[in-house]
Structures are given as C-alpha cells and as structure tokens.
C-alpha cells in the first residue's frame, strides 16, 4: 500500500513517538512506521493486548509515554497522524523533493508498504552491544535487551536464576525487573570500575534526576540481597544444551583478567550487554555523514535542528549518539518541531528544549566514557569460540583470515564468512572490527549493509527501485 505524507517517521520508540507527535501537532501530516506491534519501541515495550498502560514496576517515565500516546491517539482521530505497526523498513531513498520509504510487512503472504514523504525522521534506536566469550552461543545466554523484552513485552521471566553482566545502568534496571517478577538474580557484574566516575561529577550534577534513579535501583537490589560487583567480566559460559554456570574474573583497568580473582556463578540465564550499537542502516543508505567519538563508537551527525547531512532526512535518539530515553524524547521533540517548521508550519524549536538537550548530552557523554567496552576480551577467546553466530565462524577461522592479511571487517568477511549470515554482521560486526584492528580507519565499516531488513526475493524483484528519487514520480 502507498501513503503520502509531509513527514515520515521511522521508529515509534521514545524519539520517534515524540517526533511524530510534535510534527503532527505543528501542522504536518505524518506517517509513523514501526516494526513493533505497539507504540513505545524497545524502551517502553509492553504487551499488545494490554490497554496501553505500562507496568510501573518495570518501566520508568511512564507518564511521558502515557502523555505522548494520548496525543498520538488524538492526532490519529483528527487524521493528521497515520500509525502503521509491524513495518520492517528495508530501504530509504532521498532526492531533492523528498523521500521514498519501503517497508516489508512479513507474511505469509508478505506485503509492502511504500511511503512518499517530503521529509523523513529516522528514529531507529539501538541494540545491545554483545562481546564474544567462550560459550556465548549456548541457549540461555541472551542480551540484556532480550531479557527485558521478554519481561516487558511478554510477561515472561527468561529463567529462575539470572546473572547479568556487561556495563551501564540498564544492568541495574533489568535486574530490578527480574526481582520484581519473582526471579532470583545471582549477581550483577559491571565491567566498569567504580572509580571511573570520579572525573565526571560536573556532568552528573546537572541531571540530579538520573542520580536519584540509580540510587533507587541500587536500594531495591540491596534489599533483596543482590550484590553489584564492579570491575568484573564474564570469561566463559558453561553447559551442554544450555548455560548452567558462568566463570568470571576481576579485570584490570585495560580489561586483563587478574589471576586469582576468578569466580564461578550458577545461572540458568546469563544476560549480557556492553552498551549499545545505534541502528544506522537507513542513515547509511542515504549517505548521511557519520562520525566516531573518542572510543570509536559511531553516530550520525546532526545539526542544531536534528537535520543530518542529507537535507531531507532528520535523525533523533540513539543513532545521533547513545544517550538514553530522556535525551531521545528531547531530540524527537526538536526534530518534529523542526520538520514542521521547515515545511512552513509554526516556529522553530524553542531554546529551552535545546538547553535541555545540551544538558542531557553532557550526561550521556560522561556515561559513554565510563560504561564502555572494557577491552581485554580478545585474549580470552579460545580457538573454538564462535565469533559469527550465524555462520558458526570460530575464532581460529577469524585469526586465520587475519594471518592471511585481512585488516578490516570486510576482508575478514570475504575470507572467513564472518558477518555473511542472516544478521549481516549486526551481532558480530563490532567484535570482528575490533579483532581486525581496522576500526580506527573506518569505524562505520561494520554498519554498511545494502538492505536494512531481510526480504523475500519476489518482493525485491517486483520493487521499482528506480522510482526512488522522490514523490510524484509515479512508482
């Protein structure tokens, strides 16, 4: 089916929902595409069958979501917002006069949605950054986001004895969720060392509400006897048909395991995540300029009004730099208002919103430098550790490719098939890029892929791809 809109928003999480609401309230006609079944994205994920209210023991900023949902419903009734769930956007093209967005609606039978819009706001979110370790392919090892999605979206506790490992505040909120629903958390292992925070106190002081949030989680966990250990890293997961136990070690500042500081945990679920990787497939498809931060983490570059280097494409939320839901909502508001303004509706984004964005970005930058890849994981890989889960490429095979001279993620892929499977390197791309050592030269190499979602060949064969330069060209 084909839709025409002033603004197409891709993603209905905190950033996309805020962007869609503000663009539509500003006077633009908006089409909102999302792959999920309900508004809210991964952050405010909730069961489809519920009345749309979020469980207060699993979610925060519940009022923000409720408010945006109410406004979205009113805009839908008024005919200025069209919300289409279940849409897997697989490509975007952008020309002088506008954008063409194509989404797959999985079948059977599969169908396609085409949106012609004057401006597109990409709010595609992020995914957990996993790191490989021996046994990480065992059932029961999952991402923290996966654990959260089962709990928030489906009311399912992934296991009875849950160990969480990785880095960042999400570990604490996920652990609190498990405890709230009657599960046992056998440990929370934060790879960052506690002292890492010391030099970021000024940025912290500007967002007191975030400090209070962290303290609340810590108190909930402490009451339930859950210990949070800092400077600790998973070294291996053990089990035959599923994970049964997990080895950990205390790590030095550059990630090396300290001898004599190992420990074994029992767990039937190990949830892992070392920060986030922004979903930039669509941004790269239309050539938006990207940049890397001090850690080599890539984000799409945006101007003061959230416009990317492509004049008809805006971006908001995690793809502009990992920063959490509050920043995503703020960027979404700015993008929505700016998009409507560009199309002749209303004034531009107010200075107050931009001040708030600056405050939250400073906080996000502090978070990013503390909760980062701890390093050192490469030296704990064994020959038979799976690196590419899809193609079952072992560390020995990746190393062989490196010894043959591969110096970047693409050459490793050609020589070893790592990253050539179903997920197109979304899961292993970061690790392979680190192992290949080419990240500094081309940090975005692992992110480039021709299609943003797998689709049936028949649909590709029928798609009139030349019709992609803009609305009104009769596709």
């Amino acid at each position: 089916m084909t839709w025409d809109a002033d603004v197409c928003v891709v993603g209905a999480g905190p950033a996309g929902l805020a962007a869609a609401v503000h663009a539509a309230e500003g006077g633009a006609s908006v089409t909102l595409l999302d792959s999920g079944a309900a508004l809210g994205g991964q952050y405010w994920r909730h069961p489809v069958s519920a009345d749309g209210a979020l469980d207060r023991d699993l979610h925060h900023d519940v009022e923000v979501f409720a408010g945006l949902s109410r406004r979205a419903a009113a805009l839908t009734d008024r005919g200025s917002l069209t919300y289409l769930p279940g849409q897997h956007v697989w490509t975007l093209s952008a020309g002088q006069d506008g954008c063409l967005i194509r989404a797959l609606v999985p079948g059977p039978p599969a169908a396609e949605t085409v949106v012609k819009a004057r401006l597109t706001i990409l709010a595609t979110g992020a995914m957990d950054r996993p790191l490989p370790f021996p046994g990480w392919d065992l059932p029961g090892v999952m991402t923290v986001g996966g654990l959260q999605s089962l709990l928030k979206g489906h009311g399912v506790l992934a296991g009875q004895r849950v160990l969480l490992a990785g880095t960042g505040p999400l570990l604490l909120s996920a652990a609190a969720g498990v405890v709230a629903r009657g599960g046992t958390v056998t440990g929370v292992l934060e790879s960052a060392r506690q002292r890492a925070w010391a030099r970021h106190l000024p940025a912290l002081a500007r967002v007191p509400e975030k400090l209070a949030e962290g303290a609340r989680y810590a108190a909930v966990l402490a009451r339930r006897g859950v210990t949070v250990r800092s400077g600790v890293m998973v070294t291996a997961a053990h089990g035959q048909d599923r994970v049964r136990s997990v080895s950990t070690a205390r790590i030095s500042r550059d990630g090396h395991a300290e001898p004599g500081r190992e420990r074994l945990y029992e767990a039937d679920v190990l949830a892992v995540g070392w920060g986030f990787i922004p979903r930039l497939e669509l941004h790269t498809a239309v050539g938006c300029e990207l940049s890397a931060d001090a850690h080599g983490d890539v984000a799409v570059t945006v101007d003061d009004d959230q416009f990317t280097s492509n004049p008809v494409v805006l971006a908001a939320g995690e793809p502009t730099g990992i920063g959490g839901a509050s920043l995503a909502v703020t960027e979404g508001q700015i993008a929505g208002i700016a998009a409507a303004h560009r199309l002749g509706h209303g004034a531009g984004p107010p200075a107050g919103l931009k001040d708030r964005r600056a405050r939250l970005r400073a906080f996000a930058a502090a978070l990013a430098s503390v909760y980062t890849d701890p390093g050192g994981w490469g030296e704990r890989l064994t020959d038979d550790t799976i690196i590419c889960r899809c193609e079952e490429v072992s560390y020995a095979e990746v190393r062989q490719a490196l010894e043959l001279g591969a110096g970047d993620v693409r050459t490793v892929k050609l020589l070893s098939r790592a990253g050539m499977g179903w997920c197109q390197g979304r899961i292993c791309g970061y690790a392979v890029a680190c192992l290949a050592g080419g990240r500094a030269a081309d940090p975005a190499a692992a992110l480039r892929m021709p299609l943003a979602a797998p689709l049936p060949l028949g649909l590709l064969a029928n798609a009139d791809l030349n019709a992609g330069t803009g609305p009104g060209d009769g596709s």
């Binding site: 489809v48 957990d128 996966g146 992934a158 048909d241 079952e392 997920c423």
Partner: protein, 89 residues
C-alpha cells in the same frame, strides 16, 4: 489457555505473546540446531536482529520465534540446519 504445538507437545500462551516467549515460559530454551556443528540455539537478542531463534512454523522454516505472534493451533517445530533439507531431495 490457548495452545500451539512444539515438536508435538502443547505449549500454552497468553494474548500478545510471541512463539519464543511462550516457549521460554514453557521451559524450552533451544529452538534449533545449527547447520555446521549441530549446536543448540535459543533466543539471543529477543528483538528480531540476530536470527538465532529461527524455527519452523506451519511448515515454513526460518521464522523468528521472537517476532511471530503465538496463535492457537500453530504447528511449531525445532529447525535442523537450514530447515530446507527437503530442497535437496
């Protein structure tokens, strides 16, 4: 409670649950065997990105358990390898 079948056994689910979530609630952690090493795999990312939870639903292979909504009477099976061995026969 409505059910679907997994390798012949009934699996209950509630409205809005995915096939993968209902399987985990029923204690099933492995949904496929890999094609090279025959290793068990289950849900990993839980949000449709990793393609580790591929299984066979009503005969169609390579369906993501974490995305497909559970429905009454669905016939769900463990996927062996590519799930398309029949193409080679």
């Amino acid at each position: 409670m409505p059910t679907f079948s997994f390798d012949g056994a009934p699996v209950p689910f509630t409205g809005g649950q995915s096939v993968g979530a209902a399987l985990i609630a029923a204690g099933v952690t492995s949904v496929r065997r890999t094609r090279r090493q025959g290793r068990p795999r289950g849900l990993f990312c839980g949000i449709g990105v990793c393609f580790d939870c591929l299984l066979r639903i009503d005969g169609a292979p390579n369906q993501r358990a974490c995305l497909v909504a559970a429905g009454p009477g669905l016939v769900v099976q463990t996927q062996d390898g590519t799930g398309q061995d029949d193409l080679g026969r």
